[in-house]
């Protein structure tokens, strides 16, 4: 299933990086949130690692059960913001003293008006680095996960759990997922 993918052909090395051969495993499709949570708990109990959970909306139940660390995007925001503020200060002060021109009897490097620029630059750089942070982290995660099974219903109303596993364990996983209430299981 590759419908979610950008309809682009990536050049060679990137293709290898982002579109590796499919990861073997089992995909369970759930209609109910509580069943999904239940399945995840059972899988975790069975020591299955690197689960991928699909959901149409972000749900705190899923976050809770997965117990993921806080996204590093916040560091991107912070660093971007500080860099922006510094850039704003540099921009205004450097450009003022580079060719000093007096206006209205005010000091050449007049901080109060420059605060506005510094503030705007803080927000601009912070926001842009946040976006880049999201893109980078999501892309990074996607690369780590490799090519895994997916179903277009996941963006509508179904939940999904993908368990990477070899063919040997696939049967057990299928059974476990069906037991938790999966509507459908599929091997990849």
């Amino acid at each position: 299933m590759s419908e979610h993918r950008l309809p682009l052909r990536l050049p060679g090395p990137l293709h290898d990086l982002f579109r590796p051969p499919p990861t073997p495993g089992v995909l369970g499709v759930f209609a109910h949130l509580d069943a999904t949570v239940d399945a995840i708990q059972r899988l975790q109990a069975g020591a299955y690692q690197s689960l991928t959970v699909y959901s149409p909306v972000p749900r705190h139940e899923l976050e809770d059960v997965l117990a993921q660390p806080v996204s590093p995007v916040r560091m991107w925001t912070l660093i971007g913001g500080i860099a922006g503020c510094a850039f704003g200060a540099w921009l205004t002060l450097y450009m003022s003293y580079d060719w000093p021109i007096v206006v209205g009897g005010k000091p050449i490097g007049s901080i109060p008006p420059y605060v506005v620029i510094m503030f705007e630059m803080t927000v601009l750089f912070g926001a842009l680095s946040t976006i880049i942070g999201i893109l980078f982290n999501a892309a990074h995660a996607a690369r780590r996960l490799g090519t895994i099974a997916w179903d277009p219903r996941f963006t509508n109303d179904k939940f999904g759990v993908f368990v990477p596993c070899g063919a040997d364990k696939a049967g057990a996983v299928e059974k476990l997922l069906l037991g938790a209430g999966a509507e459908e299981v599929r091997r990849a």
């Binding site: 021109i101 007096v102 209205g104 009897g105 005010k106 000091p107 050449i108």
Partner: protein
């Protein structure tokens, strides 16, 4: 235009390199066009490219004969200034004089001789043919009536015409629309001499003007204004006094604006007032009158104040007070003219005023016969009326007209023109008379020709061409006449021959060549003439009996007055003058009718409503301008507009006030300009293009006025108006500011010491004449925008004259204060920090720089300017052929090459004439010397031109500079000082002499 007159060709004629006015070119997109350099064939020894040459000549815009200096760059005259050597104007120049350039480069000038063809149209012809035809027609007409009408000619040209007319059996008459016949007649009545004396305003201690508009149109406005301010301006100190100035007349004119007291006498009764004052002086023995004055006593008794007060409309007490003040001053000067002298009884009014002067002992002191003005050269209306009769009767076969436009001033004359077989016009402007002519022989502009003028006895003003003719197809009328008369030589030879006579008398031992060269350099020869005494003539007493107006003040009396800028209409095709707001009404590009608010209420009219004024002679439709500066039931209308020809700026504009005037001369032989009219409101409405916003300044500190007594108490160092400058809570901010200034003074271009350019404007001297405005237009390439855009207040005038009224309510007397408002070059300029691209910034020498080529036109600076002195280029006024083109070919030749012509979308404003400052700095640097205060005082164009010397420029950081001294004057104040803008312009409060009974 038929002649392909373009700049290239012009330059070729002169053999000029480079040059041309600097323009802020296009939108800066695309490659620059390839420029060509055209070298001189022979380098002229008096012209260096890039360096201005000055030529002295004489102004011919009116009869005053002011000396001119024309600034010539690369062969073209780009600026006119007063000639400091001339005793007439002492280096000063009025708006009309400044605008002479626009006559020179007028795009509507006739470029070559024209002959009326078989189809009735004027067609081009050659000079040879034209002169041959002229000579033949004149020869044919011998005995059938040949008349040459000239303007006010006082020099060699007039003599030449007279000689020619004598030779061919014709006659010359001079025609001036405002010839002041009554003045001559009144002097004849009173003193038995028709001479017009010299009025010594400067020496006067009390001035009463009976309608004489001596600062605008009367005799010698620049000279009189300059002298007047010497007497009237407040100097300083306790013992300082100033001449009180009273204006008498039904309408407060520009000249009246400066008055300490305005006596709105009923039109035509000015003479009664003068006689009543004389009666008081004689009967109370207030002055040492000449012995023969006593015989006036019995006749004067009939004019005692209480007997005539009601007729004049001024109460007897006031008359008595005026008489006492006049006599007590010990240097009274009463002048009569303008509206007063143009009433039907004008001559008697003048005679009455002469009597007042006489009994007060002013004749011989402030009224000096001897250095008489050559007003007799102005002719009289009686002569014109007689000519008109001859023409209508078929008694004139050939009529030649030069320097006059009677067809505009006299509708009957225009009709009678049709009866003349052959009409020749020497006008280079397509005026009404030229349009009716059969042969047009366009004269050179006065700036292109040789001539001379003798404006008053002892003054021989020389006129020399300052440049080659703009239109090579034009010819000096003198040359044309010499050729037509079959004489050899040029007019220059004729002139030199005439000047050999001057050389004989005033040569001072020099050879003629030396004498001539010196005269050219100084603009003429100036000699002193002794005064002579006059005695009361036999007509004086008889005249007193006729002083009362021959008419009763009717429902409405129309007073027709000459427009201060357009005069009788001769300035109408000069956009500078059209766009110059009338100093009183502030209306541009249009005529108006002044109506008192009370009268307007009665008639149910508002500003701009068109009323139909109907006199016995004709009618005009004039939009109403409601103003307290006119007496109730008087409606004042200016001449100047209503041309049917004369060029693109003049034709079809507004109404011709001459239409109201009777065609018959009055007793004095002059024309009557005060007529009874019927007023009818029409449905029409005109949106007046006025620059007036709010006529009252509501105590906002824009103008300040001090009564004389208070001004005399001022001590140096005490600034009466400075109380609000820095409030206590702002002290901290002040210190921070000062600290920042010290820091900046060490940075970049700001390091080191610099001058701080500044100005001081003495409102005691400013009369509101607006000469500075036109001077600025000329110097700084200001665009004229036309009536439609002035209605949207888009005029570009960097300096404007604001005319505020004070008083006039609740029985207070009405006063006017005029103030020039221009960029204040603030030290703490609000306009600067808001510009996003540093187009507005502070220069090290304290100017508010405005860099046109950096400006992107956000207009934020103007919003933040509390003085509202920034002007925006809404359109591309320099676009050739554009709808709003301000300088149609060849008018663009007057552009100052030192000043960038701004393109559309750019903000501009007063720069303190930074190009002149830089020019002076360059000059000083080349000579390794420092700038001297004396050469800076009147550096900017406005200061240079100001006839009252009200504007002084200089370096505020120089403790000895005049501007510094004036800025420290206790009368000094900054406009809107409370905003902490720290302007570089200090205004000195106006001082008024007491107007009530408190004298």
């Amino acid at each position: 235009m038929t002649d392909a007159m373009n700049r290239r060709r012009f330059l070729k004629i002169l053999g000029v390199t480079g040059g041309g006015a600097a323009a802020l070119s296009g939108c800066g997109i695309g490659p620059e066009p390839t420029q060509r350099l055209l070298p001189y064939l022979v380098a002229p020894d008096d012209q260096i490219p890039g360096v201005a040459t000055w030529y002295a000549t004489t102004c011919r815009e009116c009869a005053a004969g002011c000396g001119l200096r024309a600034r010539v760059r690369e062969g073209r005259a780009v600026k006119l200034e007063g000639n400091p050597d001339s005793p007439v104007n002492r280096g000063r120049l009025c708006a009309r004089g400044q605008a002479g350039l626009q006559g020179l480069y007028n795009p509507d000038r006739i470029t070559g001789p024209r002959l009326r063809g078989a189809n009735g149209q004027l067609a081009e012809t050659t000079w040879d043919k034209a002169i041959q035809l002229l000579a033949q027609k004149v020869a044919d007409a011998k005995g059938k009536g040949i008349v040459f009408v000239t303007g006010h000619e006082t020099g060699a040209f007039g003599d030449l015409v007279d000689e020619w007319m004598r030779a061919v059996g014709g006659r010359r008459i001079a025609f001036e629309s405002f010839a002041l016949e009554a003045l001559r007649e009144g002097n004849r009545l009173a003193f038995g001499t028709a001479a017009v004396p010299h009025y010594d305003f400067a020496a006067a201690k009390y001035i009463v003007s009976f309608g004489a508009d001596f600062m605008e149109t009367w005799l010698s406005p620049v000279e009189f204004q300059n002298a007047f301010t010497r007497a009237h301006a407040f100097a300083a100190g306790a013992d300082s006094s100033m001449a009180k100035y009273v204006y008498v007349g039904p309408r407060l004119s520009l000249t009246g604006l400066s008055a300490d007291e305005w006596i709105a006498a009923a039109p035509g009764t000015e003479g009664l007032l003068a006689l009543a004052m004389a009666q008081v002086i004689v009967s109370r023995r207030l002055a040492r009158s000449p012995a023969d004055a006593t015989r006036l006593g019995p006749s004067l008794a009939a004019h005692a104040p209480d007997k005539v007060a009601a007729q004049i409309g001024v109460d007897a007490k006031t008359i008595e007070r005026l008489a006492r003040e006049f006599a007590a001053s010990g240097g009274g000067l009463a002048v009569a003219g303008g509206v007063a002298a143009q009433a039907a009884n004008g001559a008697e009014i003048v005679a009455a005023v002469n009597i007042l002067n006489y009994v007060a002992g002013a004749v011989g002191r402030t009224v000096q016969f001897g250095p008489d003005l050559t007003q007799d050269a102005a002719g009289s209306y009686r002569q014109l009326a007689a000519l008109r009769g001859d023409m209508a009767g078929g008694k004139v076969a050939v009529l030649l007209v030069h320097g006059a436009n009677p067809a505009h001033a006299d509708a009957a004359f225009a009709q009678a023109l049709g009866k003349v077989l052959f009409k020749v016009s020497f006008s280079s402007d397509p005026d009404e008379t030229a349009r009716a002519a059969d042969l047009v022989l366009p004269d050179l502009h006065p700036l292109e020709q040789w001539n001379d003028a003798r404006p008053r006895a002892g003054v021989y003003a020389l006129q020399q061409p300052v440049m080659a003719p703009v239109f090579p197809g034009t010819m000096h009328a003198g040359d044309a006449i010499l050729r037509a008369a079959g004489r050899t030589g040029t007019f220059k030879d004729y002139l030199q021959t005439a000047w050999r006579d001057v050389h004989r008398r005033h040569g001072g031992g020099k050879s003629f060549e030396e004498f001539w060269t010196a005269a050219l350099a100084h603009g003429g020869v100036y000699t002193e003439i002794a005064t002579r005494s006059v005695r009361l003539g036999p007509g004086a007493i008889a005249a007193m009996g006729e002083a009362a107006p021959p008419f009763a003040e009717g429902d409405a009396t129309a007073v027709v007055f000459p427009h201060p800028a357009l005069h009788d209409g001769r300035g109408a095709n000069k956009p500078w003058l059209q766009e110059l707001p009338d100093p009183v009404s502030k209306i541009t590009w249009h005529g108006w009718a002044e109506v008192h608010p009370e009268t307007a209420g009665k008639w149910g009219v508002v500003n701009g409503d068109v009323v139909l004024l109907k006199s016995e002679a004709g009618e005009v439709r004039a939009p109403v301008w409601i103003t307290p500066t006119v007496r109730p039931r008087v409606v004042a209308v200016p001449t100047g507009q209503g041309h049917v020809a004369y060029g693109r700026y003049a034709a079809g504009r507004s109404f011709n006030a001459f239409d109201l005037l009777p065609g018959e001369p009055n007793r004095a032989g002059g024309r009557t300009f005060v007529v009874a009219v019927k007023v009818t409101k029409t449905a029409e409405h005109v949106f007046l293009a006025t620059t007036e916003g709010n006529a009252r300044e509501h105590g906002h500190g824009i103008v300040n006025v001090l009564p004389l007594a208070q001004a005399q108490r001022l001590r140096p160092g005490k600034h009466v108006f400075e109380a609000e400058e820095t409030p206590a809570y702002a002290r901290g901010a002040e210190e921070g500011w000062a600290e920042a200034q010290r820091e900046m003074a060490a940075l970049g271009g700001y390091a080191g010491t610099h001058p701080r350019w500044a100005m001081a404007i003495d409102l005691s001297r400013c009369t509101g004449c607006s000469a500075c405005v036109t001077a600025c237009y000329a110097e700084n390439n200001l665009a004229t925008v036309g009536e439609e855009l002035v209605r949207r207040h888009r005029e570009m005038s960097w300096i404007r004259i604001e005319r505020y009224f004070t008083g006039g309510k609740d029985g207070e007397s009405l006063h006017a204060v005029t103030t020039p408002m221009l960029c204040q070059q603030c030290g703490n300029a609000p306009c600067e920090p808001v510009c996003p691209v540093f187009a507005a910034y502070h220069t090290p020498d304290g100017l508010n720089g405005q860099i046109y080529n950096r400006c992107i036109g956000t207009r934020y600076c103007s919003n933040n300017c509390p003085y509202k002195v920034r002007y925006f280029n809404w359109f591309n006024y320099a676009e050739p052929g554009g709808e709003f083109e301000a300088w149609p070919e060849p008018l663009q030749l007057l552009l100052n090459p030192d000043v960038t012509v701004r393109e559309k979308g750019v903000m501009e404003k007063c720069t303190f004439c930074v190009q002149r400052i830089r020019g002076k700095q360059n000059e000083a640097r080349l000579a390794d010397r420092r700038l001297d205060d004396a050469e800076l005082q009147f550096l900017p164009a406005c200061a240079q031109g100001c006839p009252s010397e009200a504007i002084v420029f200089g370096d505020l950081n120089d403790p000895r500079s005049r501007v510094r001294q004036l800025s420290d004057n206790p009368r000094g104040y900054h406009v809107l000082a409370g905003l902490n803008t720290r302007p570089a312009i200090a205004y000195l409060a106006k001082v008024t002499a007491p107007s009530g009974g408190a004298a």
